[in-house]
């Protein structure tokens, strides 16, 4: 088998021929390259691929007619090293595969719990060792997490308030009970939609940011440099970010609640003709202070979870930009998932306790 050129354009056909020859199960194949006029790396790559395939099948290969130029090329590489992988190829069992799937998840969960523990310890025990929260660093983070999210939170809050009121109105109009728009909007926003929506926005904006930022800092050895300078990344970076997330969740959910209820009231006034005073009166009757406090606790917990997950995943980034991307996705997906789980725990506990 000979072609005038052994290069990018002809190599695919040649390796095809060779594999077919191998499949017939010969003991020995002789490849004559004597007629080759010009070659390139891809062409010789095809030759090495052939040697590798032959080795894997236990077929002996002999090369014939290599030009001096080809020999010079091959003096730069070691065929031994290149074909070494053909000898291995152990079958990956289902248990190994399951392990490969489960292990990173377990590692991630352990990392998140460890970070949560570290942050809590720093917040609780730190002050006794005269290590207080870094207010300067926290302020920077709050500025991003809370102040930066204000416009989008206000917009979503207002629109959702309108939508909920509209949904309620369609149902309640049948019974002439339009005034209950206030109850439906107020209760659902305060108990569920406010904390959930702020946590989701926070996970998307700040959880991802924290993971990407810390991940890039790991890759650029900035974290190692901080440690080396005697600056603990936990206190300098992680705790401020987590505290800022908790604070942002708290503050933003209150703002969300207020704006959403205002949106509901606007709809009720504009479409159902309910005066603002009446709407407010009705709201006061529907909402209790205990609901309000519970919602605040829930929001703060959501914020802590989002903050811890973003930081934990960011800090355990390995392997360059690919790892940073994975951590960022993980921070949003796992963050939102965990928020829902925590919400379920809260609701269940609330039902069980009273």
């Amino acid at each position: 088998m000979a072609a005038a050129n052994l290069d990018r354009s002809s190599v695919a056909a040649l390796t095809g021929d060779f594999e077919r020859a191998l499949r017939e199960g010969p003991e020995r194949v002789i490849v004559d390259l004597g007629a080759v006029e010009a070659f390139d790396s891809a062409g010789l790559g095809g030759v090495v691929a052939g040697l590798e395939a032959a080795k894997a099948r236990g077929v002996e290969v002999r090369l014939r007619g290599l030009s001096q130029a080809m020999l010079d090329f091959f003096s730069l590489v070691s065929v031994q090293r290149l074909t070494a992988s053909a000898e291995r190829g152990a079958e990956i069992g289902p248990v190994t595969r399951l392990g490969e799937f489960v292990e990173p998840i377990m590692d991630g969960a352990v990392a998140v719990l460890a970070t949560a523990g570290d942050v809590l310890r720093e917040l609780v025990v730190g002050p006794f060792k005269r290590r207080f929260l870094r207010l300067d660093r926290t302020a920077v983070e709050v500025d991003h997490c809370a102040a930066g999210a204000l416009p989008i939170i206000a917009l979503i809050g207002f629109l959702l308030g309108l939508i909920l009121a509209m949904q309620a109105y369609v149902q309640l109009r049948v019974f002439g009970a339009e005034i209950y728009i206030a109850n439906m909007v107020g209760v659902s926003v305060l108990a569920e939609i406010g904390p959930l929506m702020t946590a989701i926005v926070l996970a998307a904006r700040s959880g991802s940011r924290n993971a990407a930022q810390l991940g890039a800092m790991v890759v650029g050895e900035e974290i190692a440099a901080l440690e080396q300078m005697g600056v603990r990344p936990l206190r300098f970076l992680v705790v401020p970010k987590v505290v800022a997330c908790a604070f942002a969740a708290l503050a933003l959910s209150v703002i969300f609640d207020v704006i959403a209820m205002a949106g509901g009231a606007l709809f009720a006034w504009g479409v159902a003709g309910i005066e603002f005073d009446a709407f407010a009166q009705q709201l006061r009757g529907a909402l209790h202070a205990s609901d309000f406090f519970l919602a605040l606790i829930k929001s703060a917990t959501f914020g802590l979870a989002v903050g811890v997950i973003g930081c934990a995943l960011g800090l355990r980034v390995r392997g360059g930009s690919e790892g940073v991307g994975r951590a960022t996705t993980g921070a949003v997906v796992v963050g939102i998932f965990l928020v829902i789980v925590i919400d379920a725990v809260f609701v269940t506990a609330q039902r069980l306790l009273g």
Binding site: I30, L51, R62, A216, L226, M229, G230
Partner: protein, 272 residues
Amino acid sequence: MELPDSTFTPRRTDDIVRVLAVTTSLGGRTILDGVDLAIRRGEVFVIMGPSGCGKTTLLRHLCGLLAPSFGSVTVEGHDIHAASPELLHLLRLRTGLSFQGGALLGSMTVLENVELPLRENTELPARVIRETARMKLDMVGLLHAADLLPSSLSGGMKKRAAIARAIALDPEIVYFDEPSAGLDPVTAAEVDNLIQKLNQVFGITMVVVTHDLQSAHAIADRVAVLHEGRVLRCGTRDQIWADPDPRIRAFIERRLPVEEVDGMDILRFLEI
């Protein structure tokens, strides 16, 4: 705030750093395989070796950033990988590390980067911190770039900023990971000069990883040559430069080692 020297007692030894049988496996590969070293107080110690032989990994062990799989690193008489967090912190304040890639904090200006170790670890007034940091920047010839962000520095400027940050706290011992790689010859000579000056004036122990033979020859008191995860030879500069071992000769004379020409194994596949 912890203050540096209040509770720390260096144990007086001639060797400021001792490395004993340090062995490291990363990702299933053995990188270092029983490295023994002793670095003397006040010397310029150069670590040489081919790319990928584990020099950066060794420096991470020396700084306590990465624990070896086996073996120990003793700094000022204290085992750095068995130290309590408080002791480790104090040991770190006495060491500076200039990273191979700089590792400057991207969100801060060059000046803020150099100020950071001072701000975080001392109670000095902001004015003094600022001037100290500017002084260190001037030493590495970067005063004009003080207010730039690291992203707008060239590779060589990053490296020099990292050196300024490493010496910010006037450490006892400074590790340099390839300080002159990527610098033009004149700047590289300036960095060499800086390393020597700091060594002579302040008696700082300098541990320099480098490929640059010229600069190694210019600054080294003693040299260790790493090869395949082991210390091939450790001795004074002149001993190393006169060593007959072909692998060391190859390195120092920049030629191909004879036994390395293993590429011709295509011959085994030729029909004879």
